[in-house]
Symmetry: C2
Subunit: 892 residues, 2 copies
């Protein structure tokens, strides 16, 4: 180990694909290919360890010598020398971090080219002077910009100027003399901005380029990207120094990319593009059109056959879809990069299933290779003809789904139309908290500004609402009530369709097609009818077989319960009884609140009892034989009354008109009396039950009588009564006594347990478990109280800023904060079980359906998670993945 | 130990005063006196252990035999036998728990008396038939009520009937025949209610009486008392079985109580009362007037001299004020009880100081014997002529102080007059949350209903407002706007005076005199001028010498800082900068909030800067040389704007009148935009600092420039900058960078630290300490978030109910909840110091001045507490007591 620690540079032959931490992804794979005997241009890797030391201000003192040594070996292997005027070696200097950060970091090509060696390069290339001077021009431009911070526009303008002078738009029309002149201009620009000459010492070029790559780790865009992708900030990047090969040396040269399977569908076969007489950057720049990879066979059969052979070898070796970059230099094939390829959600399932069929991987590995996020994506409806339609704009895919509706430009109008039953798309430059009502009422949100952490994106994801943001081609004109984009003008009321999964925006109504995966869960599509469904079915079945965590659902109605059961729910983890107080029943709740006497209060409770009982009967029937956790009423009662401001204005205006405000005055007095500064921290949950006589008793009776009724009909109801907002065991004990009495009276058995959602409950779980047969973590409230912020108030205000500042990598309401809130969960599980070893422990609330959170709950030792019906399959899948993934390992 | 565990009954000779846990207070002291050779009637004690076993349903099987054995010894010692018709032994059966619970539990006297033995008793008493039958009558009454649950009224009515028949109001007028008849009536009543004859087996009487005492531990009033006094519920009571002695056998008999010093003032000397030919219960009943103890010398010099000798012996033995009960039976003195006597706050200090002078105790012990609660009591103003005036009513002393003002019967009027500068006393039957504005505006609150945990009491204590509650002689007539009490009619606007320390209510204005202790702290009274002040000075000086905890104050102005310094504050632990945004400056804050551009915002901040700087200059000057912790702005900015409801109504009415609401409309829009559902959990504290550019910077600059200015004038300012509401280290790091830059620019040094008030901050203190030089616990917010309730919303609503239900023994806002919130404090201290061993840790918020909480903070290892100026002496004293009291021992 000691020698490893002191070694900062590796030849490709010294590495392998498992050393990504040290060598970065690109370097590790180049090493792997080298050792597989594939034609990789020789090179070496400067490790991430060297980068980390450098970034701490302590570049390893031995680094320079190590580089010299490896460079000498490289020169020997290539038979060329860096900067040799006769036969110069050129190298590329590229970043390569552990996790791919496409386009985020720096690359310098053609390092080693100088005034002295440019002629040597021309000779090497068979007298191709134009090529040599173009290469030199490119070096000065890339080096100037990347290494020395010269503004890119300065070079771009000079290039444009040269083309203008030549009367062309195409770089290829510039001849050798033009390029020589351009090199001179570029050198002047370089000197102007840096105060020094362009370095003519090739080794200095190399060293500066390496440091620039190191520094690029902390470039602003790289920092932002890492925050968004939740990549740790302290990994650093490796640097790959590779002998240059050229695909632009003539028609017998070229460059291409290839996939060993279709990354879109997952189907078997060769996919790729090739561009003759070009370099990789030309492909990216899109100057010329590529040809399908298959046509390479016609152009260069030898290289094509060799490439196919290599791709088969790589797939077989990596046991996965590989993404390859290659270059052909005068008929000789070189492999420039390979990696496990990115793919669509559908392809992920299909490939994993195919690989099992092919014997490449086992089912555990297949399960490990798909994610809940991918499954969730497959459950959204999509636009039927997505591929064929032309979008009018493309923005950032901020919150998935397919939404269609009339364009509306302000929140007020959106709420008005939305509440009247119209489908609307709220279009804004950017959103702010004032837009919330409109966002709630809309089918989807489209903004022209802001990224994945903008207000619109954060809030929409929180709501599960389709959102495309930052579509910057769109010019929103609120005054004119229209937007223009790429020549189209879209007025308020026009219909558009937005795709939150791709970021595409379409004119008019695009037909939406249901998700085949949802159809499968709904029993409308069988695995044998659809290849994707077959793959999903196979992997989900394995997840179910492997997972330790049970998955329940949050459901308040029989219909929700039935749907969730089809999605695989194994019971209800959270049935919110307050939802049964809405609609027509609001009037009864008002009577309850306004009751002046015990009789009035009891009358209101008596009227509510049969209604609640019927709700429970329906739910117990749908969940027959499975546990149903019913939470006693949680929100403050004044939530059932009209808002204070609205009532006060109504009464004041009536009085100003000399009218009698009537019942509104009584209501206003009640609302004033019950008004709370911070209702979330007020009279709610168990506190209500202890303060309002008979309220919890009525609910327990409704549960018990419903269970008795279902049992009489031959059913198997399994009620569990859950007390919300408990902070002290005494609260639970008091409610428990009351509830047990009612259960005895009705002659029904039920578990009695509590939410753990108040920090104190977690901290005193050893005591609370004495009175609870189960715990269910309310991680939403636990997050709100643990952090001291209310979701309603903060997601729209400072969360955007916090995500920008990197205080959160992700909203703690989306994915559980394992360090703070998670610590409360671990304390509670440990101490609750110490008191009562058979304590049943679960979690309800949306964290129960979040992939990363599911892994945490698995590792924390919970018995089940509960989430909304649509997230049930995601939770099942991730619970299976958690079971096959070693604890603490990377689940992404 | 094995023998002890199996032994459930102790003779007095077997016990001592240190066995209170096992023998109860009364029994342990009787044992102690017995062993001192004092004349204690023989008896034995059944242990608390036996009681605990009995209450768990498992009375020790050996108990009966043990009692028999001890009873036999007792009979032998007395030469009498229980139930012996000729020479009967009578015993008293009395409860005696570890902590005194006066009047809360049961006593049965004269046990052993039966139809058969009543004649024997008459003969023992020299033929005093009347005495014997009266004793029998008393037994049936006490036994019936206490042991068998016969309603007391039944006996009372029979007694009244007998007196009526005799034409008298005095029991003493009933002769032997009357009493014989009464015994018969009582027996019938007994049988009627119990379905059985009054037990004629004396041993059965004894056993039933013992069990009744055991059961009385769980009587409702005992449970309530323990909750109020915070006595653990599982201690159980011991039972004392003592040979009866009689003070009512003639003029040479009598009974009395005595104190070895004056419990009112603490002065040396004999204090007590004596009643000839009477029993203890007659003294309590107040049928005849007692005479001063000194007159006993004349009546019975021998007994008097013996008593004085015994009292001196007891004082010398207990080294404290002793409270004694004695009986003289035909010239023979018997000691029935002694205990360390209760005393007033003033006496506590005086006695402790005197005992040191006398060499009885050392200063540590003296410090241990006084409490912060007593000191706090001495710091309230009192009514000058308290003893001489006759109160019109007496209620429960719910919240101390002396308040004078006009009677007002509703909250609205109280607020109106109060805000207009009038002194008012709010008088209500009972209060509810609607009364809050009036309670805030009033000098004091008087209610006719409710106890120490009623709404009025809880809220008034929370506010530190004088309150007398449950003065049930007062009949409040809201409609007539007057109350009547004992013949007085008091109308609205009449002046009354209420004493929250005694519960007394006076008509008219009683002159208020300042506290001599406060005058001493203020330097207006010297120790040599006043004995109480001398005692306080001596003990406080010792507390200061002994304590490890430093004591700082919460102060926002120079005046507060100066006063607190006179009270002994060693710096400022919390200077709230938002208090500097009020008054005239509110307009600037409005400008800041409404700023549309960066320039407008900066202009508002620039205008605030010099004002804040001047505030800090004043404070730094007053606290020269001592640390001053300044908290950056904490509350949400919309708190500086008018309330939403008020503005909405104003704008709506203006618009209805066709007027332009002008600036109100702009304000309303801002208030709506900034409205938060739960402002406590919203955009405040560090979040404001991170979202509003320049706000924290302005404050840090004001602090830094103020320090620089004071330094230039030769002062020694010691600023500490505290960031509120931090939940994650990244928040603190971001603010820290900004603050350090400003400090460097101004050239001033300051510690930078954070509040720990969000549960997550406590749970991640190991990380947060990396960016903090000090922690200060905001236990108010930590309690609010840890329990999930907001003080404003809950103290008035469900706290009363929670105190009644025993969910809290005391409001967690008064005294820190050591199990839940305290656990967060301990985690934070431990993990913060693990990261940064020299981390300075304190607490600000009112818990810092609460006695029990100070002991907790001492044991948790904090460096200082900070509290309001008036609580500083209390905190100093309790910090000293904590240092001399073993950790974990009882500090009451």
């Amino acid at each position: 180990m000691t020698t490893q620690v002191e070694k900062f540079v590796y030849d490709f032959a010294e590495g392998n694909k498992d050393l990504k931490d040290l060598l970065g992804g690109k370097g590790a794979n180049l090493a792997e290919m080298t050792n597989l005997g594939l034609p990789v241009p020789p090179g070496f890797i400067i490790t991430t360890e060297a980068c980390r030391a450098y970034l701490k201000g302590a570049e390893p003192p031995t680094l320079r010598d190590e580089v010299s040594e490896h460079l000498a070996r490289l020169e020997q292997a290539m038979g060329k020398r860096l900067g040799d005027p006769e036969n110069p070696l050129l190298v590329s200097v590229r970043s390569g971090a552990k996790f791919s950060m496409p386009g985020m970091m720096e690359t310098v090509l053609n390092v080693g080219l100088t005034d002295a060696s440019v002629g040597g390069l021309a000779r090497q290339s068979g007298g191709n002077d134009r090529f040599a001077w173009d290469s030199y021009r490119r070096l000065i431009q890339m080096f100037g910009k990347t290494v020395c911070g010269v503004p890119g526009e300065a070079f771009d303008e000079a290039l444009e100027g040269a083309k203008k002078a030549k009367g062309t738009h195409n770089d290829l029309d510039l001849d050798t003399d033009d390029l020589k002149a351009l090199v001179n201009t570029y050198k002047k620009i370089f000197t102007e901005h840096t105060g020094r000459e362009f370095p003519q010492d090739p080794r200095e070029q190399l060293d500066l380029a390496v440091r620039a790559v190191f520094d690029s780790w902390n470039a602003e865009r790289a920092i932002l990207y890492r925050r968004q992708e939740r990549i740790p900030a302290d990994l650093g990047t490796a640097v790959n120094v590779v002998a240059m090969v050229f695909g632009n040396l003539g028609p017998d040269s070229g460059t291409g990319v290839a996939f060993t399977r279709d990354p879109g569908t997952g189907n078997r076969g060769i996919y790729g593009d090739y561009l003759a007489n070009a370099q990789g950057e030309d492909v990216v720049a899109g100057i010329r059109n590529t040809i399908p990879l298959q046509e390479l066979e016609r152009l260069d059969k030898k290289s094509y056959d060799q490439l196919l052979e290599i791709m088969a070898k790589l797939e077989n070796h990596y046991k996965d879809l590989c993404d390859i970059e290659f270059t052909i230099e005068r008929g000789k094939l070189w492999m420039l990069q390979t990696r496990v390829g990115k793919r669509t959600a559908a392809a992920a399932f299909t490939i994993a299933s195919h690989l099992v069929d092919e014997g490449g991987i086992d089912l555990d590995e297949a399960l490990h290779r798909v994610t809940g996020a991918q499954l969730a994506q497959l459950m959204f409806p999509t636009f039927a003809a997505d591929g064929e339609l032309k979008p009018i704009a493309k923005g950032i895919a901020a919150s998935p789904g397919a939404a269609v509706g009339k364009v509306v430009f302000d929140s007020h109008r959106a709420a008005e139309l939305g509440n009247a039953g119209e489908r609307v798309i709220l279009v804004r430059r950017e959103t702010n908290p004032d837009d919330l009502p409109g966002m709630i009422a809309a089918q989807g949100i489209l903004t022209s500004r802001g990224g994945k952490t903008s207000h619109a994106a954060v809030v929409a994801r929180g709501m599960g609402k389709t959102c495309v943001c930052g579509a910057d081609a769109i010019d929103v004109n609120i005054q004119a009530r229209q937007f223009t984009v790429n020549g189209h003008t879209v007025a308020e009321g026009d219909i558009i369709s937005i795709d939150g999964t791709s970021g595409n925006v379409y004119l008019g109504e695009v037909p939406v097609q249901p998700s085949p995966v949802v159809q499968y869960f709904e029993g409308k599509l069988r695995p044998e009818d659809d290849e994707l469904v077959a793959a999903v079915h196979r992997i989900m079945s394995h997840a179910d077989a492997r997972r330790r965590l049970r998955v329940r659902t949050n459901a308040d109605t029989g219909a929700d319960a039935a749907r969730a059961r089809r999605f695989g729910a194994e019971g209800i983890g959270l049935c919110r009884t307050e939802h049964m107080f809405l609609g027509d029943r609001r009037e009864l709740v008002e009577r309850l609140i306004l009751a002046q006497t015990e009789d009035e209060r009891n009358a209101a409770l008596d009227a509510l009892l049969p209604l609640q009982r019927n709700d429970f009967i329906e739910i117990f029937r749908e969940m027959d034989g499975l546990p149903v956790t019913v939470r006693l009423i949680d929100p403050p009662l004044h939530e059932f009354l009209p808002p204070l401001e609205e009532l006060a204005v109504k009464v004041a205006l009536a009085e100003a008109r000399g009218e009698d405000p009537g019942k509104d005055a009584t209501l206003l007095a009640a609302v004033r009396r019950m008004h709370e500064q911070n209702p979330m921290l007020g009279l709610r949950g168990v506190r209500l039950g202890l303060v309002i006589p008979g309220l919890f008793k009525m609910q327990v009776r409704a549960i018990a009588e419903a269970a008795a009724a279902v049992k009489r009909d031959g059913g198997d109801p399994r009620p569990e009564i859950m007390v919300p907002l408990v902070g002290a065991v005494q609260e639970l004990e008091t409610v428990r006594q009351e509830a047990e009495q009612v259960l005895r009276e009705v002659g029904v058995e039920a578990l009695i347990g509590t939410m753990i959602e108040v920090p104190r409950a977690a901290l005193t779980s050893g005591q609370i478990a004495e009175a609870a047969e189960f715990f269910s973590f309310g991680t939403n409230d636990l997050t709100q109280m643990g952090w001291g912020f209310s979701r309603d108030d903060v997601e729209g205000s400072f969360f955007t800023r916090y995500l920008e500042l990197g205080i959160f990598g992700v909203s703690p309401f989306e994915s559980i904060d394992t360090e703070g809130v998670g610590r409360l969960v671990r304390i509670s599980v440990e101490e609750g079980r110490a008191t009562r070893p058979d304590l049943k422990i679960g979690v309800c609330g949306e964290h129960g359906g979040d992939p990363d959170s599911v892994h945490f709950f698995h590792s924390a030792g919970l018995d089940y998670v509960s989430c909304s019906p649509f997230r049930v399959p995601v939770a099942r899948l991730e619970a299976g993945r958690a079971a096959v993934t070693a604890v603490g390992s990377d689940s992404r």
